[in-house]
């Protein structure tokens, strides 16, 4: 694996000075974008992502960045222009939510097939319909097989940190895949939180490095053709190369996570194991719910229950082996999905973990809890309820329903 991004040694080994700010998730992501100062950003409003690009457009207007802003007329064009810019040799970004992501779907798949290292924050919101502007994961889960790396964020701090790391991951020559950084609509995007920001933009820019494209439209010496007609005699081989990018990605994500730790004091892995060493009952969650689950785990621990949490940060590539290893000693597990997979028993994350468990020989009783659809609240008491169910299963109780719902009126 080659790590080709320049300047990474510059600040290695020294945690940089941090500034503590009160920021919403949108502001934190915009702050990261400001520090990176990408070449091109295509913007189009959609709740709850809108304020992210407001903030960034303000940075452009004030000269804090000299990014070329493209005020497109739709998300389809946002992703198309981002693809054009990235293929031209620019570091290019856009941002969206739900219906915007749905509208750009076609080009989201094209971006990854062209191996363009685009970074896109997606502020999670329920896919219509009916229309709903609040958080669930139906948008990003729906495009989990479009060839993008997906990093989920627990809070504004992680939104900021993931945004910075995303460029390094995407642009690594052994990866060359676009990265979605997701964070929960309103719950994170609009909630003011304590966030530590690396004070000096230069340190962030050094960490991210100069983007050095290899094949690009604006290379006057070597013109290129992007996006040819790829028939049955070649498409499979090209998809195999894309698979290789995903096979290479976990090591790169971990390496970047470690190096980021060196400059920020906050290092990252594919997943976070929270009180898992001796956990007998555990939930798996991603996004802001992981934070709520931690509070539930703490309460239960105080009561002597051996509860734990596995938080998935990197959902694509899917760290199935790591998740199963973390759950190996558990007696009962719930996978909490903020998304429905219609016609399938259990949510998408649940099914992926259960599939991985088969391969890993993990025979722990496992159930799927669907929650938080369309922004429905999830609280500590409810997650404690999930643990109550797990305790029964752990002591020999039978699984009555593989899929059940939290916070639903029925």
């Amino acid at each position: 694996m080659s790590t080709t991004v320049a300047n990474q040694k510059a600040s290695a080994g020294k945690v940089a000075a941090q500034e503590v700010l009160g920021l919403t998730g949108n502001e934190a992501a915009a702050e990261a974008l400001k520090q990176v100062n990408p070449d091109v950003a295509a913007v189009f409003p959609i709740t709850p992502q809108t304020e992210l690009m407001h903030k960034f457009a303000e940075y452009v207007a004030n000269g804090a960045v000299d990014t070329e802003l493209i005020n497109v007329e739709s998300e389809h064009s946002a992703m198309s222009a981002t693809v054009g810019a990235s293929a031209a040799g620019a570091r290019a970004v856009t941002a969206t939510s739900a219906n915007g992501l749905a509208l750009m779907w076609e080009i989201v798949a094209i971006a990854s097939s062209l191996r363009l290292p685009i970074v896109m924050p997606v502020v999670n919101r329920a896919i219509s319909g009916p229309l709903n502007i609040h958080c669930d994961h139906s948008d990003t889960m729906g495009c989990r097989d479009l060839g993008w790396i997906q990093l989920y964020s627990e809070d504004s701090q992680e939104a900021y940190d993931n945004m910075i790391q995303a460029f390094r991951i995407a642009e690594n020559k052994s990866v060359m895949l676009p990265v979605m950084v997701t964070f929960d609509g309103f719950i994170i995007s609009h909630t003011m939180e304590r966030v530590e920001i690396i004070s000096d933009d230069k340190i962030v820019r050094n960490f991210v490095g100069e983007y050095q494209p290899e094949n690009y439209l604006l290379n006057a010496q070597h013109p290129v053709t992007y996006g040819p007609l790829d028939l049955p005699d070649w498409l499979f081989e090209h998809k195999r190369q894309e698979i290789q990018g995903f096979l290479n990605a976990p090591e790169v994500i971990k390496q970047v996570g470690r190096e980021y730790g060196e400059i920020s004091g906050r290092s990252y892995d594919l997943l976070e194991k929270y009180r898992m060493d001796d956990a007998e009952v555990a939930v798996v969650a991603l996004g802001s719910t992981a934070g709520t689950a931690k509070a539930a785990v703490e309460e239960l621990r105080a009561e002597g229950v051996k509860a734990g949490l596995v938080k998935i940060r990197c959902f694509r590539p899917f760290p199935g082996k790591e998740i199963c290893a973390a759950l190996a000693k558990c007696k009962a597990v719930s996978v909490m999905d903020r998304c429905i997979s219609f016609g399938l028993e259990g949510g998408p994350v649940f099914n992926e973990i259960r599939g991985a468990a088969y391969g890993a020989g993990l025979k722990v009783p496992m159930v799927s809890h669907i929650y938080g659809i369309g922004g429905r609240d999830i609280n500590v008491t409810q997650i404690r309820g999930v643990f109550e169910e797990l305790k029964k299963l752990a002591s020999g109780g039978k699984i009555e329903a593989v899929e059940s719902y939290v916070g639903l009126r029925e």
Partner: protein, 322 residues
Amino acid sequence: MALNLKKLSHKPEMLAPGHRACSGCTAPFLIRLALKMVDDDEKLVTSIATGCMEVVTTIYPFSAWRCSNIHSAFENSAATCSGAEAAYRVLSKRGKVKEKFKFLAMGGDGGTYDIGFQSLSGAMERGHEMLYICYDNEGYMNTGIQRSSATPKGAETNTSFAGSAKPGKEQHRKDLTACLVAHDIPYVAQASVHNIRDLGDKIYKGLHCGGPAFLNVLAPCHRGWRIGVDQGVEYARLAVETNFWPLFEVEKGAYKINYKPKTQLPITDWIKGQGRFKHLFNDKNKHIVDELQAETDRKWKSLLRREAEALEDAKAAAPASA
């Protein structure tokens, strides 16, 4: 700039031979000419929409493009090109790209009049410095000859059959050039593949007008029009001689007709040899031919009026002579 054909013949071919367009297809010629309409110190980035010309020029592992080309999808040639143009601006500003580049987006009538209309409109409105060329063959040819909003009234396609209940396409064509004029961009023009000088001049102007430009080029498809393989250029000429497809340009809002037939030929001269109109030549469908003629005349008169208006405006703006 008047096109210098001799000089042009010495310019390198930027669209390689061996692509898979049907023999007699008129669109590759348009592309070959377009790729030569940059100055020697200029490079080109092109984008193209899904459709015949994309499919025939880039069958992996081959590419006929000797300049950079990007194809992303059917409806986003303009938006894709706008992203590349924005990248050029910022990378030049940051000193990472030193050469001079021009930007050319292309699409068929389906990719331009219909599914790519929004993307085109957005890119033009934003003011990207790029020329968009529509190669208009009046139908979705790549998917097997279906109607588009550029298909003339009465034409038979595989989604507008002529049968006992229907006489072929029921609507007149969309005047896309007029839609683009309404965008108030620096340069909008209509051209045809049969008139090389006029076409070349317009491509050059469009690429060098300092802002967004749109060029609508009639490029017959003998498969869809049901004409002889060698008749594409002739039917382009007839479309102009009948005033069905006038050659004109609109610079900063001012209309100029670039060619006026000495005697306008009747519309039947254009449609009679085309298999897609053959069902019109009977008593039942004669009214459609009449409507085509009436619509052609109405549009032509309106064009003459606009040109006269532009001449008057120019006169009024000119300083009074002593």
